[in-house]
């Protein structure tokens, strides 16, 4: 089903934020490959670095943050581009066109002062997909229809505040797919929505993916959404990838103590659970992260080496990577 052709190769991606309180080591040496046509999920709890990773891929890191290390190779039609080496002008040619984003909060990604038709049209216009905004608005009707917006002919002239949360997210997806991207990066696209609306939007992303053959990088903290959508999964903890495998392996044969703990802490509505198992302690500060494995203070299997040496992400079986000394 999924090819073995890499579309993205992320190597040692590291982002720091230089704040008054100290240097926040938001992500450290994050490496993963994304295959063409797959849905690759980044999962983890608040603050573990999912959004920073997703944004860094196209240099979307603002001051006081800086990408301090790493390469992001983007493979297209036999050529390879290091996205982090491109200048501000050059990366803009890719961002929003070949690599598009959908963010969690549709409210903040839409401009309240412009009609949604104008905003979809503008996305087309800046990438020269249409000759004028007017032509773009006509195309916007079709795009809104594709994302199952009710009454698209009327809705194009609506402003964001006139739409429900679900409809706004449809518009941002419309803007995301307007230029027929090769990679769609969806950062918690349904977290702000109710479950019945979430089900509609996830369906829509699946349909769009099938129709346009796009590759999806999905960011979520919801293991249910991962189970539904992902082909492969990277589990992040405190700025590092701790485990990476296909979705069935992650759920059935997790190896890293954090992945195992996380899965046991998630209630399953189909199963009568007498007692959830919780992970003791809390996520560490990223200004002074624990030495060695960042999970070691919460890990019941930690030994001396876990406190002194950072475990590398190693392939323990075909396609299953784990960063653990255990």
């Amino acid at each position: 089903m999924i090819g073995t052709e890499k579309i993205l190769e992320v190597k040692d991606l590291t982002v720091h934020f230089y704040t008054y309180a100290g240097v926040v080591k938001a992500i450290e040496k994050v490496s993963f490959d994304v295959y063409k046509g797959e849905t690759f999920a980044l999962v983890g709890e608040t603050g573990c670095g999912k959004s920073v990773t997703a944004r860094a891929l196209t240099q979307l890191i603002e001051s006081p943050g800086r990408i301090v290390e790493g390469e992001v190779y983007y493979h297209r039609d036999g050529e390879t581009i290091d996205l982090l080496k491109l200048g501000e002008e050059e990366i803009r040619e890719y961002r929003g066109k070949e690599i598009a984003y959908i963010f969690q909060d549709p409210q903040s990604s839409l401009d309240p002062l412009y009609s949604i038709g104008y905003q979809v049209s503008e996305a087309l216009f800046v990438h020269k997909m249409v000759k004028s905004i007017k032509e773009g608005v006509k195309r916007a009707v079709d795009i809104l229809r594709t994302v199952l917006m009710p009454d698209p002919e009327k809705r194009v002239s609506n402003y964001p505040h006139e739409l429900s949360g679900g409809m706004k997210q449809r518009v941002t997806i419309g803007i995301g797919i307007a230029n027929n991207p090769r990679i769609l990066i969806a950062d918690e696209p349904t977290t702000a929505l109710d479950v019945t609306v979430q089900a509609q939007i996830l369906n829509l992303i699946k349909e769009m993916k099938e129709r346009y053959g796009a590759t999806v990088l999905l960011i979520t903290h919801d293991m249910g959404v991962v189970a539904d959508m992902a082909d492969r999964v990277a589990v992040m903890y405190a700025g590092k990838i701790v485990e990476l495998a296909d979705v069935f392996t992650i759920f059935k044969k997790p190896i890293h103590p954090y992945t195992r703990g996380l899965l046991k802490a998630v209630p399953n509505p189909l199963v009568k659970i007498e007692r959830l198992e919780a992970i003791p302690g809390t996520v560490p500060s990223l200004i002074n992260p624990p030495s060695g494995c960042r999970f070691n203070p919460r890990c019941n299997q930690a030994t001396e080496i876990c406190r002194s040496k950072v475990p590398e992400l190693e392939e323990v079986e075909d396609g299953h990577f784990v960063a653990c000394h255990g």
């Binding site: 429900s164 479950v195 189970a227 802490a265 399953n268 959830l276 919780a278 992970i279």
Partner: protein, 335 residues
């Protein structure tokens, strides 16, 4: 199941002895203020009836804006009901005057969703936990020992006594809020999305603590959440709300086993199951559209415009809750 309908009036009377709380035809309409006149009402809670038994956890689920918080606050009279009765331990609290209300305010407490805004940042943990006790003028022999005991119940300790809220994580703050609630030795606690601001690994901890102290201190809970998996984990009985109405109510395991209302079915089917073997193969019942506004709710059954099974009567006449099992009621014309 048909044959059991006639029994509904009997068993209502029968079970009332073990009910701690009975909510009868509760309404809360918020006026929409125009320049000179009231322009209409937000029917946030519209004719809701259910009971909560002593010692149980009653889960209230539904999507954003369906009225869960309004139910929770109205039954504590933190906001005044528009209409209806709230019978607590046999007495209608809507009729209570100040003295009785003081008593009720000790017996019934609420825990809010937001662990950041619910604690006074300038008070120490000790002051925060003692505040309700002082407010009610209750004499405590050894305040420090009293607070330490409460902290230990909720998984904190003596070392936290003189620290300030900003020194704690979200999960720890919820524990402080809980210790404060317990200081009044309540019987009934409304838990309004107590973990929805927390990460899953921390959430599991708090939910377990809530379960533990329920048995230990003989508490009855109204557990409000939009997360069905959590409600399943916590609740003995369950009510499903849609747009100000209770559409299904009864034994939690029973409803999870066989949800009857099309909205409940849609809601259950929409929750992604954290198991790819099941989730990827699951047949999904995706309902169209989004919940409409509670200002001008649809006629008849409020779910009918989104319901795949809607018939003519559904848009004309509102279905009442109807008994379909020993502890299972549903408001739908299909049954």
């Amino acid at each position: 199941m048909e044959g059991m309908q006639g029994m509904s009036s009997f068993s209502n009377g029968f079970s009332s002895s073990s009910n701690l709380l009975e909510v009868r035809n509760l309404k809360k309409y918020f006026p929409l203020k125009g320049l000179f006149f009231t322009k209409g009402y937000v029917k946030a809670v519209d004719n809701v009836t259910f009971e909560i038994r002593k010692g149980e956890t009653f889960g209230l689920v539904g999507e954003s804006g369906c009225g869960k918080t309004t139910v929770g606050r109205t039954i504590l009279r933190l906001i005044e009901p528009t209409d209806g009765q709230i019978i607590y331990d046999g007495r209608d609290i809507t009729k209570f005057k100040k003295k009785d209300m003081d008593w009720f305010r000790r017996k019934a407490q609420i825990m809010f969703q937001d662990p950041y805004s619910s604690l006074n940042p300038r008070q120490t943990v000790f002051q925060i936990v003692m505040e309700p006790v002082n407010h009610h003028g209750i004499d405590v022999h050894d305040p420090e020992a009293f607070v330490i005991d409460l902290l230990e119940k909720v998984g904190l300790n003596e070392g936290h006594l003189y620290r300030y809220p900003h020194e704690f994580s979200g999960g720890q703050r919820q524990r402080i809020a809980l210790a404060r609630i317990l200081s009044l030795k309540p019987e009934f606690v409304v838990l309004d999305e107590p973990t929805s601001a927390l990460d899953v690994s921390v959430q599991a901890n708090i939910l377990n603590t809530l379960k533990d102290i329920q048995g230990e201190l003989d508490l009855t809970y109204l557990f409000i959440s939009h997360d069905l998996a959590i409600v399943k984990y916590m609740s003995h009985r369950l009510g499903v709300m849609y747009l100000g109405k209770l559409v299904e109510v009864g034994n939690s395991d029973g409803i999870f086993e066989e949800p009857l209302h099309p909205y409940t079915k849609a809601l259950f089917s929409a929750i992604p199951i954290p198991d790819p073997e099941i989730e990827k193969r699951k047949e999904k019942l995706v309902v169209k559209g989004e919940p409409p506004s509670p200002i001008n709710p649809p006629s008849g059954c409020r779910f009918h415009p989104r319901c795949p099974f809607a018939r003519e009567i559904c848009s004309q006449k509102e279905p009442e809750l109807k008994k379909v099992g020993s502890d299972h009621e549903v408001a739908c014309w299909l049954y």
